[in-house]
Amino acid sequence: MSGGHDNHGGLNLTLHVWRQKNCEAEGHFETYALHGISEHCSFLEMLDQLNEQLLSEGREPVAFDHDCREGICGSCSLVINGQAHGPDRETATCQLHMRRFHDGQTIYVEPFRAQAFPIVRDLVCDRSAFDRIIARGGFVSVNTGSPQDANAILIPKEAADLAMDAAACIGCGACVAACPNAAAMLFVGAKISHLSLLPQGQPERRRRVLAMVEQMDKEGFGNCGNIYECEAACPKGISVENIARLNKEYLGASLTARPASEAAGGF
């Protein structure tokens, strides 16, 4: 099942890769030369080959996060020549192919950088801040076994489609990485939109947005400057309309939420 064609000479590349032993250590770029990379392989497969090369030279391979390699798990966390997930729109790093680069090119590879995403090692960063935001309210509180029949809830197709547009978020954090301010508004906006557009999300609508924004701020993300680079970097093309919706939901909830003493069990 192998075979194929890496006999076209391939690309010769100079890579500057961020190396950092652990979260406390100082990081730096290391330079590697790679030869004969097929233009048909993916960016991660190029890194695989770099790692095989390093290993054979007795040097420690570069650590990077990856898993599904088909653009859905959201593990990729690379900034390539200053662009989160590289040059293509609506493309995660694992879907980026080397035909996008040219022979002799110099490529800088860095991890996603943000205060809220501490670097674990090399190109691996810790995005658990997103989990903590979800844990504060990014859900519908419904116990297993209790729901009514699925078709008892009517949802306009348009609402379902808009909710799906937002729910397509893969939680990679490219929005944070690409934001000049390292803000997480697109991630939070997508989840708020997904649930606030659907009838199922209504009962917890206000407390959800208040809690999630509070947690987002606590994690140390920056402020949204409406620059919209997040949308451009998002591998799922999630629209900044979701950020506007988050703003609206937050404004509304802030102005109308009742004092904590009156609202049983929460806000």
Binding site: H16, G27, F29, V79, N81, G82, Q83, A84, P87, R89, Y108, E110, R113, A114, Q115, A116, I119, A178, P180, N181, A182, A183, V213, E214, M216, D217, G220, F221, G222, N223, C224, G225, N226, I227, Y228, E229, E231, A232, A233, S239, V240, E241, I243, A244, R245, L246, N247, K248, E249, Y250, L251, G252, S254, L255, A257, P259
Partner: protein, 222 residues
Amino acid sequence: MFSRFGAFLRSSIGKKSLMAVTGLLLILFLCAHVVGNLTLYADSDGAKFNAYAAQLEALGPLKLVAEVGLVALFGVHIALGMRAILENSEARPARYKDLAPKGNRTFASMSMSITGLVVLAFLVLHIVDFRLADFSEQGLAALVVERLSSPLGGTIYFVSMAFLGVHLWHAFQSAIQTLGMRHPSYAPTIALIGRALAVALAVAFASFPVLLLATGGQWPWN
């Protein structure tokens, strides 16, 4: 109520909203300001402009209220902007080698803090020049001609208005977005309105130093 409002103002979105509201009000103020300025074009000796200034003076306590309001608007807008600059730099302590654009950023959106700071510096100068000056003898119109026709003064005013224009280029639609109003059908129009407003205000304000510099302090329509 105060604790809820306090929490709102401490939150990133709350601060941004306040910035958006103060920004929009400041745009309104600029519109009123520019209309007043344009009275300079209404005659050849600045009498209408001076009359307009006198009318404002005649408001008495109301003028004080308006000025306190303006100071508050500017103060809040500037303070929140400064704070955002600090917080944003804390949010990414380790910089990228070079964060390259991926397609949506504009020169204006990327330089809001710089254009904002320049406009702030201009504001200080502008207040010293006109609000704190005594023009009871020569009249305000003559003072304007004096200040803006000097090569340095005119250039500073012209350049500052360019910065204001760039600031406003991004500001209007950004404020609308921050206040949660975005719809795919209207967003392009809102962006267009904001940019038209930015250009119109900057051009109108800058027209005075440009004309005065060009004519060496003479009303060109004399």
